[in-house]
Symmetry: C2
Subunit: 595 residues, 2 copies
């Protein structure tokens, strides 16, 4: 097909040249006409061939594999690890997002928006072993692109691009990020998922931005109904100090840290095996580490560690412990100290953290075996050593990919927010852009940063069941406009438009002459608090009938409750209608979020 | 590297088997110890080799092309056709989005969210020639995926998946869509761009949803300060009728319609040439079409067309004209008829439209040569035939791709919203999923739909310059907390937290002992209306000093204006502070959107 198009185009070119030559040389009109006609026919054929090619192409691209065969069925589904969110769920998600964004601006943040894909080299070398989870775009000629894996790396790229013009900022980003992850779990672990990030950049006095971030996540989780929560905190410098004090060789510190990070999923015995057998650590060294990382608690744990002469003598550990001391002072000022668990087993996977690291967990997000809220108070309960059941097994999915099947009864939603201080990442970009291979955190162009990522899908997974249980409305329509008798369509439209112009959320049945009960049923489906009924008389005399209706959960079902004495509705002057509606108790309760 | 890892793993397996065999057979402890030691060493080597491989991999993936050479510089930039939006711009964009979403729910809409990518087969065959602009994801094992090209096709896929459970809906979607388009223009034409869609699905009485959509876009554009606008409307059935009446062969109707669609960019002479020379239409037929498509106007144009005996006798045209009559009646009820231009040259590119089609244009969005607002009133001005300058030329870009360079002085932002009725698209999905090759709009599973897509970037391009000119704030921080003397950091933190807990947007300088003028300067950068100053005495006695400050544009610069008599600030009881702030005129003006 393509070659026949090409040959047609070639012929047209030849004829065109011939025609122009003849015309310019003043050839005889008849001969000229002959060539022109031939040219016209060729162009016509080309047009038809192109149209056919386009039509064929459209069909073929739908079912390339079965070229020439009958059209294949298409699978009506979303891509693996992604899903649609319908109206009711989105109403709840928008509510959660609004609280998060409001808190972000309450803490002085401004919004940043970066593209959903980045040049591949921007993401390269940032995610260690997890780089295999990056979604790449097809090379269609041009740049190598990848979907963003988180908001942190695009933010660091943005700050490096801004250079010296924007070295101090509080920025938030809300949007989707992408990981080709297995397994796909129902509790909010997807290949496409929403994260809300808040980051503070710039050189400030020690631990003040750090305390701001911790206070922020406590404010957000308190406002959203997620239940009791705890912020686990640790410090990379303390961990590094512990590893040094215990005798871990310098070149093994990062890999041993990765092993410690698994303590929330594996018993200590397994982690020790990984340290000694896989990573070649002396068992005695591993045992020393084990003694340290089982500690968790509050300020009194800090005192205990400061009293540890070996640890205090280590410069890295000492700086980390001093930081933690200052942080605890500030967190008391913010009145969130009771939410904190200084957890020495927290290590976080990412390489780029340089200071404090933290994770927010809620009771509801822990697997069933995890019941106690790790509250403040020193504890040496060896919870990491609790035996845990294996929760996954390998299976083949419909596409023939191997993936892990998860026993969901054994899995919680995990941490619902996490982050840390990363003072070197922006400098890495600045240095790489300048062709400077030193990734120095102190080099020019470096900007210290600290941030947190909130897993919106995980929070939604916690909030949604309560939302359903309470029978929350799934849309905000306040008024349903109806008419008796002949339908009065144009009159309904006029009133609807009047109310909408006054910013009142209104709907009506898009039928010319609907029966009144059908209109009531439609309004009830939307659970509207106000039904307005128009009639010939009402229109002539300038009033409307308004019925107020509340919706209550009775035995798990939504039931309409008419306002007392309001069975027949109330006559309201049409001129006063907007003010009247806004003055009702139902309206005020709705505005205050009580309904 | 991979093979050496494999051979190590092989050796470990062998030694492991040997060890277990010896252990189980009760072999002598010395021999067992020997094997165990060997095993430990092997595992250690494997760990090191793996770590090295991971580190190499991270480097290599960053600069594959220069393997072995010095690390290449990375380009600090966003992908072609994409951009970051920083805090000030995002503040404006969020404002625009909020108005749009509010209008959507005022019209009874609910939110839908679909994934950013779809299975490729879902998008196939929907976009005709433009299918080449679809961004594909790399095949990393698994599904063939593409970034969404618009919100309409994912919506239709969603409705088809819902099947019979959701046949009547008003759904909106706000999000980014993707097209590998050239040229990239500064006025809002990007490869990643934001669209806000509103769609009404289901079988309703004729033209009521159609009028709802037109009224909706008028409400939105009136609320956003985009200047004067016009909604151009036409009807596919009228166009088809015209083509039939003029003598266009049935198999050429879609391709001739595509040619007509170019009339907003090309003069009639060029379009006629395309019809006759490329698409083989008789010149006389093209001339007849030319007579029809130059008409635009209002209801009186409709009357004129109804009086055209040939047109009225055509069943398709007659149905289209009747629809338009009904639509005009409803648009009068909605009080938006003066925004409408019945424009017979409007054809819209997409194949799937089956009824009315429309485009919103603003005066500011038209190229400089287009000055008049095509207002209501029949007009036969042959504006399509106006000669226009060629505005593009082909150039090679930095990646060696050929792209069109645009003379931006000749280009407006184009239409800022567009859409139409598409009654067959959902049925196409249902039929394809059922393996039914008939794409019948009347088949089971078909759901008639009508919708509109609003180009948020184009609207932002119109609103942003005015926003800058007015010197609008770029964040919402209301209060800046400061302290004189010793810094009083912990006291500042406590007050900040108190106010934030009362949902007041507050910030402070993250320094231990900042000088007072530095704190004032920081608050002024954020243009906060309230500066609160703490001192030792104030804390002891339970009050704070509050300075109210307004910000006004004077000669294009933001200037601070202190409230009258407020140069020294006001003493406010700390217990009453929140109520006091909320009761000030500045606070109320800000809440009312006046500041």
């Amino acid at each position: 097909m393509a070659s026949s198009l090409n040959s047609l185009e070639g012929e047209i070119e030849t004829q065109n040249a011939l025609f122009n030559e003849l015309r310019l040389s003043g050839s005889d009109p008849a001969g000229l006409e002959e060539v022109k006609k031939k040219l016209g026919e060729l162009k016509k054929s080309l047009g038809q061939a192109k149209a056919k090619a386009a039509a064929d192409g459209a069909t073929a691209s739908g079912s390339k594999e079965v070229a020439g065969k009958k059209k294949e069925r298409i699978l009506l589904k979303t891509a693996k690890g992604t899903r649609d969110y319908g109206p009711a769920e989105m109403f709840c998600r928008e509510y959660v997002e609004r609280i998060v964004k409001d808190c972000f601006s309450t803490y002085g943040g401004s919004c940043l928006d970066t593209p959903v894909f980045e040049r591949k080299e921007i993401l390269a070398g940032k995610y260690g072993e997890d780089a295999k989870l990056i979604f790449d775009l097809m090379d269609q000629g041009g740049e190598q692109l990848s979907l963003r894996y988180d908001h942190t790396v695009p933010l660091a790229r943005y700050l490096a691009m801004m250079g010296g013009t924007n070295t101090q900022s509080k920025l938030w980003q809300v949007g989707k990020v992408y990981r080709r992850d297995n397994p796909v779990m129902s509790k909010g672990r997807m290949r496409e998922f929403s994260q809300a990030d808040f980051d503070i950049s710039g050189t400030w006095d020690p631990m003040i931005p750090d305390a701001e971030i911790i206070s922020l996540i406590c404010s957000i989780l308190s406002k959203i109904d997620v239940g009791e929560f705890t912020i686990k905190i640790n410090h990379r410098k303390i961990l590094d100090g512990i590893f040094e004090v215990c005798g871990v060789p310098a070149d093994k510190i990062r890999t041993i840290s990765s092993a410690v990070d698994k303590l929330d999923k594996l018993p200590w015995a397994d982690v020790k095996t990984e340290m000694t057998e896989e990573k070649g650590l002396e068992p005695a060294v591993a045992d020393k580490i084990g003694e340290y990382v089982k500690h968790k608690g509050g300020p009194e744990l800090l005192a205990k560690l400061l009293a540890d002469a070996a640890l205090s003598a280590n410069p890295s550990a000492k700086q980390g412990l001093d930081d933690m001391g200052l942080l605890f002072t500030y967190l008391s000022a913010y009145n969130v100290i009771d939410k904190i668990s200084f957890d020495m087993s927290l290590a976080r996977g990412l390489d780029y953290y340089t200071g404090i690291i933290y994770e927010a967990i809620v009771d509801a997000s822990a697997p069933p075996s995890f019941q106690a809220n790790p509250s403040v108070g020193s504890s040496t309960t060896p919870s990491p050593a609790l035996p845990k059941k294996k929760v996954t097994k390998k299976v083949k999915n419909e596409d023939g990919e191997e993936e892990e099947e998860v026993d969901e009864s054994q899995v919680g939603v995990g941490s619902i927010a996490a982050g840390g201080r990363y003072d070197g990442l922006v400098g890495m970009f600045s240095a790489a852009a300048a062709g400077d291979s030193k990734k120095s955190a102190t080099s020019k162009g470096s900007i210290p940063c600290i941030g947190i990522s909130i897993g919106l899908d995980r929070i939604f997974a916690l909030v949604w069941p309560k939302w359903v249980e309470k029978g929350k409305r799934s849309k905000e329509t306040m008024v349903y406009v109806m008419a008796a008798g002949d339908g009065l369509l144009v009159e309904r439209m006029k009133l609807v438009k009047e109310l909408r112009d006054a910013n009142i959320k209104v709907d009506f049945l898009a039928k010319k002459k609907p029966k009144l009960p059908v209109q009531f049923a439609a309004g009830e489906r939307d659970e509207v608090p106000f039904a307005i009924i128009l009639g010939e008389n009402e229109i002539k005399e300038g009033y409307v009938m308004v019925k107020q209706q509340k919706w209550e959960m009775v035995d798990g079902k939504k039931v309409k409750v008419l306002a007392e004495g309001d069975e027949k509705g109330e006559k309201v002057d049409r001129e006063q209608l907007v003010e009247w509606l806004r003055a009702t108790q139902i309206w005020k309760d709705w505005e205050d979020g009580k309904l």
